[in-house]
Amino acid sequence: MGLTDLLFFALSAVAIVSGWRVFATDSMVRASFLLLLSFVAVGLIIVMLAAPYIGVATVFMMAVEMMVMALFMVMFMMNPAGLNPMMMVHQHRFSIAAGVLAFAGLTAAILFTSFPENSVDPSTPVVHDLGIELLGPSMLIFETAGVTLLATMIGSVILSSRSGRFGMADQGSKPPGLEPDGEPAGRQPEQGGGHHHH
């Protein structure tokens, strides 16, 4: 077992263990940082797999994403510091079974498939090739991703802003009635759905 293998197994262990701890820790902020750790480990594995740009970009992007995630955790969760034990799960057994099953099924598929052997030549200028591909033959796909991101930005601003379609979101934002001063159109929400624990 060479140094590369050793490093790979160590990083894999970090990725998997921290990925599991995400759902087992009491502190929400720690959970997002554990997920970040998992991403960093995967990013480094990707760098080892001869795709330096993708690997480092994963680390870069995920650092930002998980930072935002941590902020949202503190905002929306009670007990973000994990001072009390934290276990908010439903259909627990089913989920565990599904997770294990997914892993077992995928592993079986991996072990029983014969993949073609055609490794990357270490001398290939992969980053250069990627750049040419992105701005050459696959420009349309790349641009589509860009437009999608723009739409996402607009969409998330609209969704999260206070002013809803029919008035302030937190003041009901009820649609106007079908006749003047009538009942608001559409189905009425049942009571509940409220926020019990905050």
């Binding site: 930072m67 510091a81 001072l83």
Partner: protein, 306 residues
């Protein structure tokens, strides 16, 4: 062999840069305040004082993250410096995506600062941490656009190619506003002056408000190291890095880094800090479009004359 030599040079660069930064960090503010320059011993004496001070624990801190944050900050500063070439083939971590590596270091620095403020479990520290994230993320974003502008003429994301592409003309000539934007990022990432939203006076030290003794010392060391790193990156991306006549490249880089470092410390002492909400709107509505514009200008220039 060259990697080994580069690693040695990295250590040398770090120690020289750090010592210089520690002295300049006291001398320049003292000079600007119209006082006599303090002795270089003062920084050391202060460090020794902190080392001998008790490390206080707050109530129910996230002890692990509190320890890790300064270490992470320091490690990021060192990794960021390690992708900088000291000569044509002298890089401690040769990477063809050096800019992206540096970008990751910037992003993770924000995480480290947040960790530090969060884990103390104290209100002022947490407010400082939150605020820093709000300012740090967009500042980092625009620094990446500026860096892409520096990478365009090189047609590469690696720092060596970026330096080599500056043999004809330094990037600072191509995008002077880019240099200024990047210096702002430098202030933000090394937590000083007008961009120090993490540990300002109005929060009684913000993220450091509850840290005493060795913990505070570690944080200060990491902060100064990051200052050295970001100065070196600025010198490499905009001022031609190791390029220069007669003297060896390493010395040139060191000199240019020193200049940037002095400018950063000076700027950190003479410009006012806006309240965060105002700074936020300035970044998003003025500086970010400016960075797009710089990118566009460089692109057009390369299309026409490149």
């Amino acid at each position: 062999m060259t990697t080994f030599l580069a690693a040695l040079l990295l250590i040398l660069f770090l120690s020289v840069g750090f010592a210089g930064a520690a002295v300049a960090d006291r001398a320049i503010p003292a000079f600007l305040a119209g006082q006599t320059a303090p002795s270089w011993r003062l920084s050391l004496a202060d460090a020794v004082r902190l080392l001998q001070t008790q490390r206080i624990r707050t109530e129910a801190p996230d002890a692990l993250l509190w320890w890790l944050a300064p270490a992470l900050y320091l490690a990021l500063a060192i990794v960021g410096l390690a992708v900088i070439p000291f000569g044509q083939d002298l890089v401690a971590i040769p990477s063809e995506v050096g800019i992206v590596v540096w970008g990751s270091c910037e992003a993770l620095t924000i995480v480290a600062v947040f960790m530090f403020g969060w884990s103390a479990n104290a209100p002022l520290a947490l407010i400082g941490a939150y605020r820093y994230v709000a300012i740090g993320l967009p500042a980092m974003l625009l620094s990446m656009f500026v860096l892409i502008g520096a990478a365009l003429p090189a047609e590469s994301l690696g720092f060596i190619e970026i330096v080599e592409a500056q043999r004809t003309v330094w990037n600072v000539v191509r995008q002077p506003a880019g240099l200024i934007l990047f210096l702002m990022l430098g202030l933000a990432i090394s937590l000083r002056g007008p961009f120090d939203y993490a540990s300002p006076e109005d929060l009684a030290g913000g993220v450091t408000a509850d840290v005493s003794g060795p913990g505070l010392l570690a944080w200060k060391i990491a902060r100064l190291t990051m200052l050295v790193s970001v100065s070196a990156v600025t010198a490499t991306a905009f001022l031609g890095g190791y390029l220069g006549p007669i003297l060896p490249g390493f010395v040139w880089l060191l000199l240019k880094t020193a200049v940037v470092l002095l400018v950063l410390i000076w700027a950190g002492s003479v410009f006012a800090r806006m309240p965060p909400a105002r700074m936020m709107s300035v970044i998003w509505t003025m500086l970010l479009p400016l960075s797009f514009l710089m990118l566009l200008v460089v692109g057009v220039e390369l299309l026409l004359w490149g």
